[in-house]
């Protein structure tokens, strides 16, 4: 009989962009009490600022509005804007978090799982010259949305400027190039090292753009800074960066990031949405580089994973978890520092002088790192106890010797 613990079915979602909202709508429908926090004054995130998105037939604003109204219809979804996460304590199934809310008292919420959907930021690459004609995609979307475009005769899109563009930026280039070509019938050319078409129907978009007269040129091996371009507008693809505050948030939650600073350690075993801590999931652009289509898929699978974890009010504890021998533990804290899953704490319930390390069974992955590092061999992983391993290895060695 495996052990079980009771869990709280509530869920905290960090980020009120499309990923967070999609997850919240799904979880709201499943009857979870959802707390959605957003740093800005209103929900919507980046998608709300775009004029059009490839793969979406309606305008992103309308799509967003639809999703937000769906969300607001749920009585079991609490939304806090201008809110930030300050602190999260405890473990999967029974987290306790403090929220800081502008012009209001701090709020404390208890929840069983967390979905991180903090999205991305963009920055425009530095150009040597300053000119009104040099704009980025964010400006371009604004101009198109406000119909502020004067007559243009030639537009150049410059991609892969500092480094290879992200998929989402490359897709934006294809989409906007076609849009300008069709709307204004001006000359549109795209300078890039690699056209990125690795997504559903992206190749068709590229083909259509060429058929409509967008000119694509490869600039591999050419320093684009030395080129002389004559055009009304030079549109530069922005660099995609982890959303501001990603580092702090990863510290608060104890979750790892990849080498580029985005959420989720690049480990196939955590794919698609898991983190190094049980009960914390990632959704959307904060951990993958993809178009809207894939972002929606991703947010749903994150929400599903969270729902799956908490659906039955209980979670079963895996059989293979570490155990501390209280007699041997000297509370050196080696295990606490080395556990990648934040599954070790100090047992404060004991009297002073007799405190020991404590394994949080529900958060333990059974990886065995603490077991192998403990200097006084006070931790054993059930199923892999020292005696058992010695016996196994011993028998193996005997076999070799004989």
């Amino acid at each position: 009989m495996s052990k079980q613990i009771r869990v709280n079915r509530d869920i905290l979602i960090i980020g009120g962009g499309i990923a967070g909202i999609t997850a919240a709508v799904y979880l709201g429908k499943q009857g979870h009490k959802v707390t959605l926090i957003e740093r800005e004054e209103k929900l919507g995130g980046r998608l709300d600022n775009l004029f059009s998105v490839y793969g979406l037939d309606i305008s992103p604003k309308d799509f967003m509005w639809e999703q937000i109204s769906k969300l607001k219809a749920f009585s079991n979804v609490d939304i806090f804007t201008c809110a930030e996460l300050v602190e999260t304590e405890r473990y999967v199934g029974n987290f306790k978090s403090k929220l800081k809310i502008k012009n209001s008292k701090p709020v404390e919420v208890k929840h069983g799982a967390i979905i991180v959907a903090t999205g991305i930021d963009v920055s425009t690459p530095k150009m040597d010259c300053n000119s009104q004609g040099i704009i980025n995609h964010t400006h371009l979307e604004d101009y198109i949305a406000d119909s502020k475009i004067r007559r243009l005769s030639k537009v150049v899109f410059l991609c892969d400027f500092d480094s290879e563009d992200f998929q989402v930026m490359a897709l934006s280039t294809l989409k906007n190039a076609l849009l300008l070509r069709e709307k204004l019938s001006c000359e549109v050319s795209v300078l890039s090292r690699n056209i990125k078409v690795a997504g559903k129907k992206f190749e068709q978009l590229y083909t259509t753009a060429r058929e409509k007269g967008v000119v694509f040129s490869a600039v591999e091996g050419i320093d684009v800074r030395s080129l002389q371009l004559i055009c009304d507008w030079l549109i530069i693809g922005e660099n995609i960066l982890p959303s501001q505050g990603t580092e702090e948030l990863s510290g608060i939650l104890g979750v790892e990031r990849d080498k580029q600073g985005f959420f989720q350690n690049n480990n196939v075993h955590f794919m698609p949405n898991l983190s190094n801590r049980k009960g914390i999931f990632f959704a959307g652009a904060c951990h993958i580089d993809a178009g809207l289509n894939d972002i929606l898929d991703d947010s749903l699978t994150a929400a599903y994973a969270a729902h799956n974890l908490l659906a039955n009010d209980i979670i079963e504890i895996a059989e293979k978890t570490a155990e501390v021998d209280e007699e041997k533990c000297a509370l050196c804290l080696t295990c606490l520092r080395s556990c990648p899953h934040k599954a070790i704490d100090i047992d404060f319930s004991r009297e002073a002088g007799k405190k020991t390390a404590k394994i949080i069974e529900e958060a333990c992955f059974g990886c065995g790192i603490c077991t192998s590092l403990c200097p006084s061999r006070a931790i054993q992983l059930s199923g892999y106890e020292d005696e058992k391993i010695v016996e196994l290895v011993g028998g193996f060695l005997d076999e070799i010797h004989s």
């Binding site: 290879e164 990125k196 190749e203 985005f262 993958i288």
Partner: protein, 344 residues
Amino acid sequence: MKHKNVLVIGAGIAGLTSALEIADRGITVHLVEKNSSIGGHVQRFCCKAVDDVCTKCGACLLKDRIDRIKSHPNVKIYPDSYISDISKSKSKFSIQIKQNNKHTSVDVNAVIVATGFTPFDAKMKGRFGYGRIPYVFTGLDIEEHFKEKGEFRLLDDVPKRAAFIQCVGSRDEHLNKGYCSRVCCRYALRLVMMLREAFPEIKVDIFYMDIQSSGKEFNMLYDQCKNDSGIEFIKSIPTRAQEIPEIKSVRVLYEDVTKAKLVERDYNLLVLSIGIMPSEDSKMIEGLLGLNTDEFGFFEPVDNFSTRTNVQGVFLSGTCEGPKSISESIQHAEKAGLDVMGYL
């Protein structure tokens, strides 16, 4: 809730993932696989760690799923089986499963199509000499070889020069393959790094149209390849390859687009990065279920944002819907499982 049954067609990584997702929720899954073993194409893929460091190809994610599905009380596996007939009445499907000469009939409430893909047949691109020239292989051949042998021993001598040709069977309008297979750049660069590790002296040229360097940290692997003096990226797709038996080489003719000149180079090893085609069985499934397909033969969902199809109760999972990497397939399969649970 009355007890429900679901049919999953295809026991590759997508079919297994969807089946587990549903079976874990107490629903009986009938898993039909045409081959004698479950696991699909992924079981042919090798671990692509370079220098003992994981490059996140995901090939190792299969084994755990196979182990789980084999001991799952809610999953019934039918190896060596075909679907011979499907009839739909109201919200039920009755399925005839043909296993060798044995016929089984089951009633299910929903169907997940996870028929996967067929690797492009490199012989269709005759000018690269696959099957004729002994130094020409596909990326899949190399993977299988690494998987089986653990090292590279396809040639008698140590290869000094190797070349990879990308987009063989992808982004090719002559073959009506106007789509990107999404995975070839990723596996090719990983294989290139593996070859560089196995033979530090080897020089590798990569012929490409556009490197699809998207994916987590993949730009970093691409940069690593670009900074490697032993690897040259050539933006051009060669026109032909011919055997030069005297020097045990294959001679590749391509256009150097920066100089607008035709160039010939000799290689000891030529690898064709073949792409993903719709499964050869998808026509049959399409006929049985009456599913919509896109212009290339992949099954088409009703909208961009779900795995539902034009037939109510039928869902798509994995690469039968379009090219995907292993992790993308897993995610899509989980989504299919989710959609089915919502439907039941």
